[in-house]
């Protein structure tokens, strides 16, 4: 038996009949809202033009003016494709879920990211860290922070801490001084990064003894028994780098050490550090 075809009398009935023919249910609310708005506008216009008309009659006429709701519903059903509609809904859900997951994973690492961009205020490194941890076991000759700051082609160099220790026996010579120092290099260009000091910063003392860098030792087959200038892995950040360096096997009678970096053809850096402390 066919369903009864009684014409709708109210706006709600009309919208219900239209939406019953539209398969894509998520669009029902928007379709109903638009059709309801239209019929209410029409009803109000009728009431304004015909002051004697009842609300019921005006609404019935507005509903009749829309035509056959099922025919309209079938037309709308052809346009509101459920396959495309559901695909769009699930695509949005997947994108939102992924975005939330990315945020959940990224937020705990936000602090690390900021630190990587700005670099920590201080850094001890492996060598200096070990020295400070076993500070009492060493014969510390000097522990100081040179106040001078050096600049070269956009780089700013400063020594955060320098510790000179004395030992009666060492891997280099029987009696020697050992300079451990933390060098900080800042620069405004994140692409510039810090120079390779660990490999190429060499030193000489005021007595004329030369302490080759690690790169020089490998490149020129230099012996390290008379001392060397090298370091532990650096901490490199976009705008600043920390170098945990040392000059080992320094002649015990030396009073100062000058650090040199001339790998790129000129004496870009020449820093002199007193081995008894001070500037």
């Amino acid at each position: 038996m066919d369903a009864p075809k009684a014409p709708p009398r109210t706006i709600d009935q009309f919208c219900g009949k239209v939406c019953s023919c539209v398969r894509f249910s998520p669009d029902h609310a928007a379709i109903s809202a638009e059709l309801t708005g239209h019929m209410e506008e029409h009803r109000d216009a009728l009431l304004e033009a015909n002051p004697g008309m009842t609300l019921w009659d005006a609404e019935s006429e507005a509903v009749r003016g829309m035509g056959d709701p099922e025919e309209l519903g079938r037309w709308l059903n052809q346009i509101h494709n459920p396959r495309l509609g559901w695909f769009q809904i699930w695509f949005r859900r997947v994108v939102w879920t992924l975005a939330v997951l990315v945020l959940l994973f990224a937020l705990p690492r936000a602090g690390e990211l900021v630190t990587n961009l700005t670099a920590p205020a201080s850094y001890d490194g492996i060598g200096m860290g070990h020295l400070l941890e076993h500070y009492d076991e060493y014969d510390v000759v000097a522990d100081f922070t040179p106040g001078a700051v050096w600049q070269y082609e956009g780089y700013t160099f400063s020594i955060q801490r320098a510790v000179v220790t004395h030992s009666e026996t060492s891997a280099y010579r029987d009696e020697a001084l050992h300079l451990s120092y933390l060098l900080k290099v800042t620069h405004s260009d994140p692409w510039q990064r810090g120079p390779e000091f660990r490999e190429w910063l060499w030193a000489e003392d005021d007595l004329g003894n030369r302490y080759p860098s690690r790169g020089e030792q490998a490149l020129y087959q230099l012996p390290t028994s008379a001392g060397d200038s090298s370091g532990n892995p650096s901490a490199v950040y976009p705008f600043a780098s920390y170098y945990d360096l040392w000059v080992g096997g320094i002649h015990p009678e030396a009073t100062s050490v000058t650090l040199h970096f001339d790998r790129f053809g000129e004496n870009a850096i020449s820093l002199t550090l007193p081995l008894k402390g001070g500037d």
Partner: protein, 114 residues
Amino acid sequence: MKADKSLLSGSATLLVLSLLSGEDKYGYQMIAELEAKSDHTFSMKEGTLYPILHTLEKEGAVQSYEKAAPTGRTRKYYHITKKGLRLLDTKKEEWTTFSQAVNAVLAGTTPVMA
């Protein structure tokens, strides 16, 4: 699936696009203006307007947005896009050609093609 071609063929799409070419309008406003401008010659079933509008929106010829009316009621306005304006020009040319042909047949002469 495309909307019923018989519904969208003819002059209905041309009339809707033409109504929107001046300013953005909502559904009932378009119906009322169509009846007033045509002196009630075009008095289609009002529901027919919405499959036309929804199809044009799906094709990118119009865009819809909601705006509150002074009465507090939320109205859904339609805005004709550049694509819609190009479609309107095409529809106008088709209509001109068609009406010239019809007039020529009625007058018993050979139509002058544009």
